[in-house]
Symmetry: C2
Subunit: 450 residues, 2 copies
């Protein structure tokens, strides 16, 4: 039978001997979800708190932003993923406060949630390096709403260009600038190139979509800086073949209205573009700051918490930080990268640490199993580094697609994404390119009038 007592009284109750060990996980991304799933059959009481009611498969979010997939295809309701775990409760809420002495979290609405062990996995947010006002001009792609806003802008730019008599404005509407050539920037550049030069090429009567310019800007000396130099080189070659212009060693120095200013060495260049997208930087989510204040935990420049070898916070062995919020410097020369496998393995490891402690067992130390890294460039083109071998082009693209389908959380999402991809592949069509949003009609018109 379902327990119908209100949860609030349960959660606020003091920890007693009757209570099993309470594990509270904040964040339902890869780290938090894998931790929750690993604790599914353990003799603990799990509470997963997230601001959203779904897990988002972020690696495919760029396909929502470019009209290839729908939000529902890459999001899974957390309740539905976890509903077979009898020991697990999901709460929709935003954690604002933490009291390590009382072992208590405070939610934004004032409710409190006590814990015995706490796992923080709230990830990262985008970062404009002190230029927060750029966000309105150059959106990032972190949430479903971000992706739908970017989708709206991309397709509205073509619509507006179709109606625009001034050739200079038209050129600006058809110029896309992507700041940052990490995996997300490369994916976006490739996907927009595919849209402009293939998917949309027969859709307009006044606009020649081949006039579209896609400029990918990177501050380092190559695209995909975290990858091996040979793969960066191949990615750059493939991007150029797709029609993407690449500017390396280049920084954005100003963003105003429809004007972007770059600096390459001493050279300053100004470009008119209605469409600037931000893929340049992330910083740790704001809960990291709360944690630092309350526990004295040290953090790095990006706000990530420097964790112990078992992902716990110094002097607070029952508080763990995993995923993009953690700076883990106990393996290799540099901290572990902010990628999904690190978060997943961290989540599973911490679950094991908690289980072992309850049994008074020692857990072997964490060792990240790096199966490689991969980035998609466009149709038939990706780069994959499996450590023991490197792939490029079509084989890499197949591996990329298989890995992403394999890790999608729900079986129906796997099927839908595969079906949609096959269709998109053979027809080069992308059916989800809807311009939507509240007051969409008004904002269409406002945009049209600009």
């Amino acid at each position: 039978m379902v327990d119908t007592a209100p949860v609030k009284s349960d959660l606020s109750a003091p920890a007693t001997a009757e209570h099993p060990h309470r594990v509270v996980i904040v964040g339902g991304g890869f780290g938090g979800l894998y931790a929750a799933q690993s604790l599914g059959r353990s003799p603990v009481e799990v509470t997963l708190i997230d601001r959203r009611n779904f897990h988002l498969f972020q690696p495919l979010l760029y396909q929502v932003a470019t009209g290839g997939l729908s939000p529902g295809d890459i999001a899974s309701p957390l309740r539905s993923v976890l509903n077979r775990q009898q020991n697990t409760q999901v709460l929709l809420g935003e954690v604002r406060g933490l009291d390590p002495e009382a072992q208590m979290l405070t939610l934004r609405d004032g409710d409190t949630v006590p814990y015995d062990s706490l796992i923080l996995a709230t990830g990262s947010a985008h970062h404009y390096f002190g230029n927060d006002h750029w966000e309105a001009i150059a959106p990032s792609i972190k949430t479903i709403e971000d992706a739908l806003e970017v989708r709206r802008r991309i397709f509205l730019a073509f619509e507006k260009a179709e109606l625009e008599p001034d050739p200079d404005v038209r050129k600006s509407l058809l110029t896309f600038v992507i700041v940052g050539a990490g995996p997300t920037g490369v994916e976006m550049a490739g996907a927009i190139a595919d849209l402009a030069f293939h998917t949309l090429k027969n859709d307009f009567r006044s606009v020649n979509t081949h006039e579209t310019r896609i400029i990918l800007v990177e501050g380092m000396d190559r695209v995909l800086p975290p990858f091996a130099p040979s793969l960066s080189e191949r990615a750059a070659k493939d991007l150029k073949k797709l029609g993407v212009e690449i500017r390396i060693n280049t920084f954005v120095t100003a963003l105003e209205g429809e004007q972007v200013t770059f600096k390459t060495g001493d050279q300053i260049e100004t470009i008119q573009s209605h469409n600037v997208l931000w893929a340049a930087g992330v910083r740790a989510s704001s809960l990291g700051k709360v944690l630092s204040e309350k526990t004295g935990a040290p953090s790095d420049r990006a706000g990530r918490i420097m964790v112990e070898p078992d992902f716990s916070v110094p002097n607070h062995p029952n508080i763990f930080v995993i995923g993009d919020l953690a700076h883990y410097a106990h393996q290799g020369d540099s901290p572990l990268p902010g990628v999904a496998p690190v978060a997943m393995q961290g989540g599973q490891y911490v679950a094991r640490v908690i289980r072992d402690r309850l049994k008074e067992k020692t857990t072997p130390s964490f060792s990240y199993k790096d199966s490689g890294s991969l980035a998609i460039i466009g149709r038939n083109s990706a780069v994959v580094d499996l450590n023991w071998t490197k792939l490029t082009g079509y084989p890499a693209w197949v591996v990329w697609a298989l890995v992403h389908v394999m890790f999608l959380i729900e079986f129906d999402n796997k099927m839908i994404v595969m079906t949609q991809w096959m269709w998109n592949f053979f027809t080069r069509n992308q059916g989800a390119r809807l311009i939507t949003g509240r007051d969409q009609i008004k904002s269409n018109q406002a945009f049209m009038k600009q």
Copy 2:
């Protein structure tokens, strides 16, 4: 080659002998889209104007509102549907003015579009019978944004109930009132029952979703009033089996905050409900009023234009009105119903009238081919009236599903919807139940605080 001249000058150019006959279609619903497609190979220049960049398959919109499908699954970009028609141009815009003398439309941004023949197919909007302030309390489901808002409210109600200690508030959160028992109201009631009593039943720890109340309110003396009485009876029986309470001969007299007041005969009843959904009435889109003012065309009480037997407006043989905006009273005892097949057949017929006129041929008079009507109630249950036979239960449900997949506009949507339905059918899961929206986190919290 693509013509790169700006469209504005094309559109504003006066009609000359060089120009082929210009057909302008306003609205990309079933009527407008079928008219455009029928003119695809005709020696005319077609311009389709819509406020949105996609055709929406409205019959399945309730599944978006209840988390079964994603918006992209039932929407097709108009440009992509029509891009093989070399004679057809799609414009994103909202028509605000009409000058029948100059044969010219004015868009909201001031652009003008000249026409030789005009087809108005802007459909209907929801109607609160003089209580427009009810809209904020009881949303309708007409657009993608409406459906996402209703989806947000439904799933947030369960989330809030999970956290709510006050049993009365919890009861109100779990009470769903649907006003209007036409096909949309019946579909919504059935879908919410399926969610509450099956899909979500294992998802919550505090809430017992079996406590959910779903009340379907209808002013007439039976559900599905346009259907045969025997089918209404069966629908009512199936709805009750699903757990839906039905109130016939009942009107909503007041809606305030979380309180709904009904009147049944002389009986007044007040119910607390956080979730009131409106499926009670439609009126013609506002362009009908503009048309009446400019052409003197008569309209009915719902604002629909009374059209001639060839769908033209009296005294304006080159202006046609089709679909839900038209009141067509030249066949049978009552005007043709506001359903998709009437719009489709009207669109095709008007296209033929225009073609025939150019060839100076007479078009045989219009005859609506009524293949029947159908409404879904829930899993394994629908009612279908094929005129020569009536179906209920599982066979009707299969026919309903086949017909809807058949008429979906794009092939990939057909595949995706079928895949999703099979999955939902076998697992009773519905993967698209995301709570999304701009400032979603803020509004979640505001909602939580209510």
